[in-house]
């Protein structure tokens, strides 16, 4: 009952004309960003973040949440129409979505993706509401050691589950934490690691790192591998969007399973929507009576992954809003934005700023309805937007990124730093190092250090405090397991291959 009342209060905030407009603009921008190959939701959010500076925190977060959800919807359009995923979580949609388009069923593919995304996105917000309250109550008992362990677990999980090399993800985590250390030490007031540069006295702003790694790094990478988008238009029909009865029957369970998988994976730090869509596709293929049709235009292969990647957005908001721990690059940017707006993310956010939390949750319901209508009615418009040439798009991203980063503090030093992090982002992409652990570490770095130093002050310098308290010990063990799991899995697969060879 209390939750329902709070939600009503949230709707009261979310349906003000300005918040509805911002939610719509966020959803629209997110759909376009999601659809454009080469810019992910993290880059889009980081680049557009400076535009929210004049807003109140609730309106800004409503716009950002709309953008985040919209990016998940938008990624489908290019996957289906040109076989190029708009962002990584739409990779699986290419397999069957594009085949459906070639068979003249593009409308059906986009339609079921939009409907599945809507159902999954809405249900994930319901799960978010139901899970948040007990989690907040539990988290209120946390002290500095538990927070330290929780944040460390978050970093370990993102390093372990982010995909690719765990070693490289760990390097990124250490680099990110080191990037967060220059500046005036909050405890002693002494400058550290500033190398004589006055611009570093205030530390490195997370936005500079995020925009550099995600935005400029992506642009440089795209400069090297210029992508030509060719629309296969002869056979594609996007008028017949609504699925028929047989298609509904085939899609109902994939949407349900995708919603559950997506939410659970989304809650885990590091796993995110990409892994959710992969897992959902694998599950659908396993449960299907006709697995041989997967990859040849099976509607289940679109419905499941698209539901999963949208459900993951609601899941990812759970640790962000309740614990103040982001689970992905995108939510790390949201967390950084919250702190820039003067809000302290964590369990107290529900008590101190209920209007903010519930306003955002309510706007996610509204955003999903807007996105459903937008994605069914405006697909031809998005297809036109997709034809914006790279020669205009990427230079404009650089301009926006530069002005945006400058406008935070009005400091040209930040623009130089953006250049440095842009180059770093490009090289990270070349070396297949995920940027999300770096950004997450930059955001969490100061909080981790504060929790560590408070804990050591409490224990008079003894490290026992981290493993003698049950919650802290359990979280540290989970973090260790997350880092070790890919290594164990690799050895298991090797031994399985060896046995199969014998």
């Amino acid at each position: 009952m209390e939750t329902f009342q709070q939600l009503m209060m949230g709707f009261h905030i979310a349906i003000t004309p300005i918040n509805l407009l911002l939610c719509f603009l966020g959803a629209l921008a997110g759909t376009i960003i999601g659809a454009l190959p080469g810019i992910g939701p993290s880059a889009g959010l980081a680049i557009l973040l400076p535009l929210t500076f004049g807003m109140n925190p609730t309106s800004a977060m409503i716009m950002m949440a709309g953008l985040y959800c919209g990016a998940m919807y938008g990624g489908t359009i290019t996957s289906v129409l040109i076989n190029v995923p708009g962002e990584s979580s739409s990779v699986m949609t290419c397999l069957d979505g594009y085949q459906m388009a070639l068979q003249g069923r593009a409308g059906k593919a986009l339609g079921i993706a939009a409907i599945g995304s809507f159902i999954a996105g809405t249900l994930s917000v319901v799960f978010l509401m139901l899970l948040s309250i007990p989690l907040v109550k539990f988290a209120l008992s946390f002290g500095p050691p538990e927070y330290f362990a929780l944040m460390l677990m978050g970093l370990c999980t993102i390093a372990g589950l982010t995909g690719g090399s765990v070693l490289k993800a760990l390097v990124g985590t250490f680099l990110g934490l080191l990037i967060s250390t220059p500046g005036m030490d909050a405890f002693s007031g002494l400058p550290r690691l500033t190398f004589g540069l006055t611009g570093l006295l205030g530390g490195v702003d997370f936005l500079v790192v995020a925009v550099g790694l995600f935005g400029i790094g992506e642009v440089l990478y795209n400069a090297e591998q210029i992508m030509k988008m060719e629309f296969v238009t002869e056979k594609i029909k996007i008028k017949e969007v609504w699925p028929n009865r047989a298609e509904w029957r085939a899609s109902a369970m994939p949407i349900t399973r995708g919603t559950i998988i997506g939410f659970l994976v989304g809650v885990l730090p590091g796993a995110g929507s990409t892994i959710a869509s992969f897992m959902s596709y694998a599950a659908e293929k396993r449960f299907s009576k006709h697995p041989e049709q997967f990859g040849k235009g099976a509607i289940e292969g679109v419905a499941g992954p698209e539901s999963a990647n949208n459900s993951a957005t609601g899941g990812a908001m759970v640790p962000l809003l309740t614990l103040g721990i982001p689970g992905s690059g995108t939510t790390a940017i949201m967390l950084g934005a919250l702190m820039m707006f003067g809000l302290q993310p964590g369990p107290l956010l529900f008590q101190k700023n209920p209007d903010f939390v519930w306003g955002v949750i309510a706007s996610m319901y509204i955003g999903n309805i807007m996105l459903l209508i937008m994605n069914i009615a405006c697909i031809p418009l998005f297809v036109k937007i997709l034809k914006i040439p790279n020669s205009l798009l990427f230079p404009l991203i650089m301009v926006f990124a530069t002005v945006g980063v400058y406008s935070v503090d009005g400091n040209i030093f930040d623009v130089w730093m953006l250049y440095v992090f842009g180059v770093m982002g490009y090289f990270m992409k070349k070396f297949d190092m995920p940027p999300a652990p770096v950004v997450l570490s930059v955001v969490l770095g100061p909080m981790i250090e504060r929790a560590l130093r408070q804990s050591l002050t409490m224990s008079l310098g003894s490290y026992d405090i981290f493993y003698t308290r049950p919650i802290s010990a359990a979280l540290l063990l989970l973090g260790l397991a997350a880092v070790l799991w890919p290594v164990i899995d690799m050895f298991r697969q090797r031994s399985r291959k060896r046995k199969a060879g014998v």
Partner: protein
Amino acid sequence: MKRAEKILGGVLLLFAIYIGYESTLIETGADFGKVGAGFLPFWLSVGLGITSAALLVRAIVLPVNRFTFEFFSDRAGRIRVIWVLAGYLLAVAVMKPLGMPISLAILMAVTMPAFGSRSWKVIAFTSIVTSVCVYVVFGLWLKVDLPMGILENVLSIY
């Protein structure tokens, strides 16, 4: 790519050693709960040192066929990246003396050809429109104190 990975591991290892050394110049102890400002950077540099050393060893030990592709796939791509980077560097360098609108117009004009635009009319028009938009939206509307450089006396942002 094997050589590039070796360089990466080596550079990161050197960076970790340097940061570790810099951290030791600050208070690094954690006796009786008084944690020094250099404590965390020092241990982070140790962590980075260990992981980058592992990266280096991995690049040395693993056979070449485990590294699938070349660092730069083609020469044209490499030139485009260097072109964009040089253009961006130029734009940042002239931002203070010439002002942000002009420097961003330069950025547009230099980078558009790298992404495939060939018409100088389109490039000139887009560059000018972009810098005007930046001035209007960020300078006049959002009241960001943009560096105006030589335009300071010509265009007001207040």
